[in-house]
């Protein structure tokens, strides 16, 4: 028989009280672990979605603006050289220090030219990049898989009265319509999308590029640095971060995290209070018993540690069960939060167990103090 065992025996004797004491901690930790593991995975998922949403940096030539403002005289040699972008600029972008953060660089060439007798804008990009650069495009038919194929924007298809399998002529060349875009509400609805090499040859600009879309991997992404580095690599180009995307991404994630922490904090606080109330009630109920312990020579510290062991046992069990339940809930609920392959968030679970123990023990402080301060005579009289 030692204090620990005495505490344990006492718990077993009052099982329902112990369960009730632990309930708050259990619910608090389960909520905390579930919410924080869902939010942390959601952060990842949102990030993924946002990253997939496309580019967050656009590289355009500076030429037009500068020539309007100052005229070509003001431009140095290199800048003039870069006043038009070419395919080889991709390698320059890829040479920046933060290149490991770059997920994709997609060149686009826009040109207005004849298509089956109508003057339409052609958008060229590498067909292989279409799925990653514009994942939200819904194509009736198939995407551009090789040269000689085009995908028509919804309006362009209507204007030309063409569908998948049809042909569009440009000058002397014939293009097969591989697919038609569902309306996007964007400018590409009126465009003809083709392999960039075809558009380059149509516009007689071999290697020509109108702009690059650069997608950086953006967990704690130093977008400003990446922009600056690309600017240095391409002095003649205008590099702009699509701020809105970056900022709204941050805001969304932060909001989620705040919500998660707020809810968990409230539930945990309630759990701690529940411990305080139930343990306090237990002390009241056990005044006589505590008096006997004092009478047989228990020091106040021994009474203290008895109550701490009791709450410690309860909190430990409740925390572990709570963490396990939280993980399970997060795992089961993750599909409805758009998390594709849920994982087990270890750190929220560990944090949860630690928090549960701490809260349980903190909640036990006032009742333990009260118990230790009980006058033994009062206690014995109450028997």
């Amino acid at each position: 028989m030692n204090i620990r065992k005495l505490a344990w025996k006492n718990l077993l004797r009052r099982k329902s009280r112990a369960v009730f004491t632990g309930l708050g901690i259990f619910l608090g930790i389960a909520t905390f672990v579930a919410i924080s593991s869902i939010t942390s995975q959601m952060e990842g998922a949102v990030q993924d979605q946002l990253d997939r949403f496309g580019a967050n940096i656009v590289v355009t030539p500076r030429t037009e603006q500068l020539s309007l403002g100052f005229g070509d005289i003001a431009l140095g040699g290199t800048e003039v050289a870069h006043s038009r972008l070419t395919m080889s600029d991709k390698e320059r972008i890829m040479s920046i220090r933060h290149r490991d953060r770059i997920r994709s660089i997609v060149p686009y060439l826009l040109t207005a030219t004849d298509a089956s007798g109508k003057n339409l804008v052609w958008m060229g990009l590498p067909g292989a990049d279409m799925a990653t650069a514009r994942p939200w495009w819904k194509i009736n038919g198939s995407p551009v898989r090789k040269r000689g194929e085009v995908v028509l924007g919804a309006e362009a298809a209507a204007a030309l009265d063409k569908g998948p399998g049809g042909t569009v002529s440009a000058g002397s060349r014939q293009f097969r319509v591989a697919g038609v875009l569902a309306p996007t509400g964007e400018k590409e609805d009126g465009m003809i999308i083709a392999e960039i090499a075809d558009v380059q040859s149509l516009s007689k600009r071999a290697g020509g590029v109108t702009y690059f879309e650069v997608a950086a991997l953006c967990k704690d992404c130093p977008v400003e640095d990446i922009v600056a580095q690309i600017g240095q690599a391409l002095p003649g180009a205008r590099v702009s971060a699509i701020r809105q995307v970056v900022e709204s991404r941050k805001a969304a994630v932060d909001q989620l995290r705040r919500l998660g922490f707020g809810v968990s904090a409230i539930v945990l606080l309630i759990g701690g209070l529940l411990v305080l109330v139930t343990v306090m009630g237990g002390v009241q109920e056990r005044t006589g018993e505590i008096g006997v312990l004092r009478a047989v020579g228990f020091r106040r510290r021994a009474i203290f540690s008895l109550l701490f062991w009791e709450t410690g046992w309860v909190s430990l069990h409740a925390s572990f069960l709570g963490a396990a339940t939280g993980i399970a809930v997060a795992f089961l609920a993750s599909p409805s939060f758009g998390i594709g392959n849920p994982g087990i968030a270890v750190s929220p679970a560990l944090l949860g167990v630690a928090a549960g123990l701490t809260l349980g023990l903190l909640g036990a402080v006032p009742p333990a103090r009260r118990a230790a301060a009980l006058s033994p005579t009062e206690a014995i009289r109450s028997l």
Partner: protein, 237 residues
Amino acid sequence: MEDIIHLKDVSMTYGRNGTRATALRGLSFDIRGGEYVVITGESGAGKSTLLTILGGLQVPTEGTVRINGVELAGLPADGMADFRRETIGFVFQAYNLLPYLTARENVMVPMSPERVSPREKAERADALLAAVGLSGKEDRLPSQLSGGECQRVAIARSLVHDPPVLLADEPTGNLDSATGEQILDLFSSLHGRGKTVLMVTHNRANLSRATRSIRLRDGEVEEDREFRSSRAESAAV
């Protein structure tokens, strides 16, 4: 023998100004080691209050209490706990066993803060239970023991630290007379082995075993008699 208990001008008043109750009024007496003192008096005379003060469970509002050479007034809370553990064995009318512990475990309770192996504690407990005649019942819960047996467990528990002084507040109050006699026999044999015994009792028959009787009335000593032998006549009251 030396005085093991020294009481001088001890008064005890409960409550605040509004609801004051004076339980003891200037009590003074000395008890030598090895005495068997029976304390009698009507209900409310202050007997239990006296015992709790002697046991270091509460501090008198006035006066000096010295037990086994220790001046209780000056002790800090932990010192008081240590004093109780080392010097005093308490036995209560209601046994005050922990109902969820077996007889052995109840006897082990006073040892639980100690860093001694569980086995040694259990052996000590079993030896004490054997000494009070409870061999073979070590694993029973209080609910599986008779009143007399429960009181034996409580006595065994009070002996854990081999205290020189035993304080018993109506230890036979809940027992029938035959069982009460057996408990008194147990106290007599402990007295015979050198313990100083102070027992509060209503029962005049208990006087026959004592060496001294102190009768309280309204918090004062009404009568303090020593018997030449412990076999004094019960008519003394």
